[in-house]
């Protein structure tokens, strides 16, 4: 399913993040299926990278585990296709630019389109540097998702607002994924983004469980939960137990945000 718009139609969208290949790609497929069943409206699939600058230790280590067991961008794209054939929610890939560049921008865009991937988030590819990838993706019907952060300047926010498609990924704090406290002026930050952007807003980074998700849900159109999911899955030993644990967490968050 490639339509991102529908995920924001009924209440706050819940978008869990899963690191593809942690602990292995087979488990990733089961985990995504279980999470969708538990209430996920879309799923972010992490493309592991050796040097993830926007991620905290939890996701960084998940990426290392995935790479250690032989996960490649090629295998992630293939798995994304498999997942897209099994679940009825959009699949969003998230990862860093170097592996994409190495894979080949055009090949990446066309393979993603073939796999049925809905969108891509690349945290180290700001729009200023993203023309080539973004054009390639858009021409094949895959949406590049742009990010904003609480300290963004007004003119830059306006420019991102003009370019945004699908939704905007609002980083909830000044920091990397999995960090503790949300930005102090959250309401005014989100309101500032709203003024400049016409697409829905999804908030991510630091959403560590049902309570915090419920706290921010009224402000935005979607929440992304990453490190908390990775921690729950890995902490319970991965495998079927990890899948159950990840799905349980998503179920709890889904109930909390309504």
């Amino acid at each position: 399913m490639r339509d991102l718009k529908v995920i924001f139609d009924g209440g706050t969208a819940l978008i869990p993040f899963v690191m593809a290949g942690d602990p292995d790609l087979e488990t990733t497929v089961s985990l995504v299926e279980a999470m969708v069943e538990a209430g996920a409206d879309a799923v972010e699939l992490g493309m592991p990278f050796s040097d993830p600058l926007a991620d905290g230790p939890v996701i960084q280590e998940a990426g290392q585990r995935a790479l250690a067991c032989g996960t490649t961008l090629e295998s992630v794209v293939k798995t994304a296709g498999e997942i897209a054939g099994k679940v009825a929610v959009p699949i969003i890939l998230m990862g860093y630019f170097n592996p994409i560049m190495s894979y080949g921008v055009d090949r990446f865009a066309s393979d993603l389109a073939d796999a049925g991937v809905a969108a891509v988030i690349v945290p180290d590819l700001p729009f200023d540097e993203g023309d080539e990838l973004h054009q390639a993706l858009k021409s094949r019907g895959v949406t590049p998702i742009l990010m904003v952060s609480p300290n963004i300047a007004d003119d830059r926010l306006a420019e991102i607002g003009r370019r945004a498609e699908g939704f905007i990924y609002c980083v909830s704090l000044l920091g990397v994924t999995g960090q503790g406290s949300l930005h102090e002026g959250m309401a005014s930050y989100i309101e500032r983004v709203r003024r400049n952007v016409s697409v829905p807003l999804a908030l991510g980074f630091g959403i560590d469980g049902p309570e915090r998700a419920a706290q921010v849900a009224p402000l935005v159109d979607g929440v992304v939960v990453g490190s908390a999911v990775v921690k729950a899955v890995h902490g319970s030993g991965g495998g079927p137990k990890g899948v159950a644990c990840g799905a349980k967490l998503i179920g709890e968050i889904a109930s909390a945000i309504g």
């Binding site: 990278f49 040097d51 600058l53 170097n98 180290d124 200023d128 963004i152 000044l174």
Partner: protein, 395 residues
């Protein structure tokens, strides 16, 4: 540069959105201070009175006799703190002060940039945190002690190979989380724009002085300028002022570690492919799948998988030749300079010296070669001891 922050197709700003305001502000202030007389004067006084510039251009007579050319050493090792790194650290500390930042963060491999940053922070009464790989902490213990004495906090980094790449990742992550309170002094001509240009401009004093000094000593420009390249700041510093002087041959020397054929090396420019790491597009050691390869060099300061984007541009344009020498060749050159000239060179700079030995057979005795002796080598005693001292000499 063409598009903002690019040298041909290299450079740019491949960073999380959170860092943009800091990079924009840094670029604004950096452009401002380039033409600000007061700033330039303050930096000049600091470099002269505090760091000890100009550093000498020393004619190495015995080395010249041994190798068969006129070899001059640009003595960056005689700077305060023992390496060229202080040029950039003082410049950026002044910028940090202008930005109103009270805290400095830095990454370091060999420790020389960490020591320089800690020194500059102490000099200006700022707090300082230095990220350093655990392996580098082990092999550069003395510099860790120096940083701590200077009041800096040294944060051990345990990810990856526990070397410079990992320390840089950690420093950037920390910067993302503390971007409003601190200035990140990047130690080489790498990172997102404006760092590669800014660090180059703070280091070009090496080449500017060399040019003046060699004209005074020899009445002509050098035939060859040689410098080691990890990220590439000392090389860029000495090369940049000579770029338009077409008669000057410039050679950058990367670390071949155990040998390029072993795969254990840090030869980015000839063995790497174009990629993106630490905020800019440049040559990069990476797997077929785009994962960054952990480099290897006995020299902690050259143990880096990337290289400054302007070096990538110079490689493609052919203006600079990039070659590599192994650990063994560098250690031999280290020993040779100690014995012949009474100067203990940094293991990094020893790569440049080794290249001169490699070239010696093709050099005429009137060929003027300038080697950038980027730092002093007492920090490397632990690394070279097993190679240079006999069993019963070990201390």
């Amino acid at each position: 540069m063409n598009k903002k922050g690019y040298f041909g197709p290299y450079g740019g700003r491949y960073v999380p959105e959170t860092l943009f305001p800091a990079l924009e502000e840094l670029d604004r202030v950096y452009q401002e201070v380039r033409t600000d007389g007061d700033f330039q004067e303050e930096l000049k006084v600091l470099l002269n009175k505090y760091s000890g510039r100009p550093t000498p251009l020393y004619y190495a007579e015995r080395l010249s006799d041994a190798l068969g050319a006129k070899i001059y050493l640009k003595r960056e090792d005689l700077n305060h703190t023992g390496a060229h790194k202080i040029n950039n650290a003082l410049g950026q500390a002044l910028i940090a002060r202008r930005l109103g930042k009270k805290r400095i963060i830095a990454e370091t491999g060999a420790g020389q940039h960490g020591v320089a940053s800690a020194t500059a922070a102490a000099r200006f009464g700022m707090e300082c945190t230095v990220f350093m790989g655990e392996l580098d902490i082990e092999r550069q213990r003395m510099n860790v002690d120096r940083m701590r004495l200077l009041g800096a906090e040294v944060v051990p980094v345990s990810s990856g190979n526990k070397t410079l790449k990992d320390a840089t990742n950690e420093a950037i992550r920390h910067w993302v989380a503390h971007v409003e309170g601190c200035h990140y002094i990047i130690g080489s001509v790498v990172g997102p724009h404006p760092y590669p240009s800014m660090v180059r401009d703070f280091q070009r004093i090496i080449g500017d002085e060399t040019k003046e000094q060699i004209m005074a000593d020899e009445g002509r420009l050098p035939d060859v300028v040689v410098a080691c390249v990890g990220g590439g700041s000392n090389a860029m510093g000495i090369f940049y002022p000579f770029v338009e002087d077409k008669s000057v041959r410039m050679i950058g020397v990367e670390a071949a570690g155990h040998g390029v054929e072993t795969g254990e090396h840090a030869v980015t420019l000839s063995e790497g492919r174009v990629g993106v790491l630490h905020g800019s597009r440049s040559y990069l050691l990476q797997t077929d799948d785009g994962q960054v390869i952990e480099p290897y060099s006995l020299s902690a300061g050259l143990d880096y998988p990337g290289v400054g984007p302007q070096h990538s541009f110079f490689k493609d344009s052919g203006r600079v030749e990039y070659v590599s020498v192994t650990d063994d060749q560098a250690v031999a050159a280290y020993g040779e300079l100690c014995f012949l000239e009474g100067i203990i060179p940094a293991l990094e700079s020893s790569h440049a010296l080794a290249q001169v030995s490699v070239m010696a057979p093709e050099l005429d005795e009137n060929t003027i070669v300038v080697v950038n002796l980027s730092g002093r080598g007492d920090k490397d005693m632990d690394s070279v001891r097993p190679f240079l001292l006999k069993e019963d000499d070990r201390i």
